[in-house]
């Protein structure tokens, strides 16, 4: 690829290629997160539908006012300039910023695979409506105000909300939704979430562009292993005691596969790197980090957890079986004494 270049020139060309790859990786990851954000909402809609979609709205006046103020700020003519995803992520940031100033607008939300999810159907009744959007498959619908009248709110609160909306507009007016989605993630409640995202961003892109990366540099899998180890080290077992052992089992196999990243089946690698997060961790996350949601919804999610865990175990067993049969190469030099010591411990369990 870099024929006829001197050593320095070749090094510089490789660095440029690597920079291009990283920029592309960030963009591709942001796009994927954006797409996933909408899927998060659709999954919630299905759960709520399964419960019969009972009528439930948060009635906080501060929330009603915040929604109106936010849409007015980002879409002054109310023609449909704010996508569903952009709207609820901005609303989440606004709510978090307001909380720091002591104002709680009682935003209903839960954390899930791609960040916080704000269910529209739980927002104050009669304020917004959704309009179809034809051109973007990842952003759902436009969010517009039903009436361009501001709901009433006490003056002090109004001033605080107006200030918070103004600073949000200053920061994000014209910003792409993907940037907002990624910025929201900085406020994730658990350190593990942020570090896992950092890990998966690189893994996804290395799997996707493996051949291109390999042609200009090595895959630098040590960095990925370090990211994985760092994320797992930050996992707070006391917050998620039921799924800590699953994490360690997943990590041990994931780490081995990262070492084989140059040759591993990319479909398998992708399934493995997402399986714990998508199918287990985030199911526990949503019942742990939520606010202002109806009790019956949380009760349903909690009821579903044992089934979720069983399903995950079966799913993971399938992955393990594929791993051991086609990826793992047994270590030839494994010490016989240590095998015997393991077997002695095992034998006590057969009694």
């Amino acid at each position: 690829m870099f024929k006829n270049l001197s050593g320095d020139e070749q090094g510089s060309a490789e660095a440029n290629e690597a920079d291009k790859y990283m920029a592309g990786a960030e963009a591709a990851f942001a796009e994927k997160e954006l797409e996933g954000s909408l899927i998060d909402v659709q999954e919630f809609d299905k759960d709520w539908y399964d419960l019969g979609s009972p009528d439930y709205h948060v009635t906080d006046e501060g929330l009603a006012y915040s929604i109106s103020a936010l849409i007015q700020a980002f879409d002054p003519y109310n023609v449909g300039q704010i996508s569903q995803t952009k709207f609820y992520k901005l609303l989440y940031i606004l709510s978090a910023n307001l909380k720091e100033t002591g104002v709680d607008i009682k935003l209903p939300y839960f954390w899930y695979r791609h960040g916080p999810v704000v269910p529209y159907s739980f927002l104050p009744d009669g304020i917004i409506e959704l309009r179809p959007m034809n051109w973007s498959k990842h952003q759902g619908k436009w969010v517009v105000l039903r009436k361009r009248l501001f709901p009433k709110v006490v003056a002090v609160k109004k001033e605080t909300i107006d200030d918070a909306v103004a600073s949000l507009r200053e920061k994000y007016n014209g910003a792409k939704t993907a940037k907002i989605v990624s910025d929201v993630y900085v406020t994730a409640p658990h350190n593990f979430q942020r570090d896992y995202k950092e890990f998966i961003k690189h893994i996804d892109n290395k799997i996707k562009y493996r051949d291109i990366i390999c042609s200009v540099q090595d895959l630098r899998v040590r960095e990925d292993i370090n990211r994985l180890e760092k994320a797992v080290n930050l996992f707070d077992e006391s917050q998620f005691p039921q799924i800590y052992d699953d994490l360690l089992q997943w990590k041990t196999i994931a780490k081995y596969c990262i070492n084989e990243l140059a040759t591993i089946d990319p479909i398998f690698a992708s399934r493995l790197s997402h399986v714990y997060w998508d199918n287990l961790f985030c199911m526990f996350l949503k019942v742990k980090n939520f606010q202002n949601l109806p009790e019956r919804l949380i009760a349903k999610w909690q009821r579903d957890l044992p089934t979720t865990q069983d399903k995950y175990e079966r799913h993971f067993q399938g992955i393990e079986s594929q791993f051991y049969s086609s990826i793992y190469h047994p270590a030839a030099s494994l010490n016989k004494d240590i095998c015997n010591a393991y077997c002695e411990c095992l034998r006590s369990l057969f009694k």
């Binding site: 080290n233 089992q249 079986s321 393991y342 411990c345 034998r347």
Partner: protein, 225 residues
């Protein structure tokens, strides 16, 4: 002849450490080998216990080292390393730290060594399970046999497990499609209660030709995996 295996035989075959693993090698020479959904459910339950009581404790220990120990592990750390290991896996770690590890060792290298041992041990079990599953056919029983079940209840106590599994074997013999040749069935187990105390009751009530305790077979040295 149909050969139907009990869960304990599946366990004996898959875990090399099992006392009768060598006897289980005979399964590889058998034809018409069967198990049932109930056998696999029992297997999963047993495997989960082993995972929880042994493998998870080993992985937790490795993670504890990553969190609590310095980058370089010195010989002086040995007692502390053994001390933080769960009692159930302490003999394993004692052997590792006292006889195998060469100090000083990088923390990452030590943790990788432990993770690799764990993978290696799991690998053997997983490969043997895959192999056995490729040799076995699975029977799903839909018929219920309340009178047969109550006839066995006084002897074969575990209704969901042992009794259900024996009835699965009985049902297989009667299945006109799966057993079109009207073959007899041998039930293979390590459960002495079933193969001796309850044997007469099973043979007189069910369409099972024989209940065989695999313990009494001569061991066959398995090929190295």
């Amino acid at each position: 002849m149909l050969n139907f295996i009990d869960t304990n035989v599946l366990v004996g075959y898959c875990f090399e450490a099992h006392n009768y693993n060598d006897q289980c090698q005979i399964l590889e020479k058998m034809t018409n080998l069967w198990l049932s959904e109930k056998v696999l459910i029992e297997w999963n339950r047993k495997e989960r216990i082993i995972q929880r009581e042994l493998d998870n404790k080993i992985l937790r220990h490795s993670q504890d080292i990553r969190r609590k120990f310095p980058d370089m592990i010195e010989i002086d750390h040995r007692e502390r390393l053994i001390g933080i290991a769960d009692i159930k896996v302490r003999p394993f770690f004692q052997r590792l730290y006292l006889e195998i590890v060469i100090y000083p060792i990088l923390r990452d290298d030590l943790c990788n060594m432990i993770d690799n041992i764990s993978l290696s041990m799991q690998s053997g079990k997983s490969l043997r399970l895959s192999k056995l599953m490729s040799l076995c056919q699975k029977h799903n029983r839909v018929n219920k046999y309340p009178s047969k079940e109550s006839a066995l209840a006084a002897c074969v106590h575990n209704g969901d497990g042992d009794r259900g599994i024996i009835l699965d074997a009985h049902d297989l013999v009667l299945d006109p499609i799966l057993n079109a040749q009207n073959d007899d069935l041998q039930f293979w187990t390590f459960d002495g209660g079933i193969s001796s105390t309850c044997k007469d009751k099973i043979l007189s009530n069910l369409k099972i030709k024989d209940v065989i305790d695999l313990k009494h077979y001569l061991p066959i040295t398995p090929p190295s995996h």
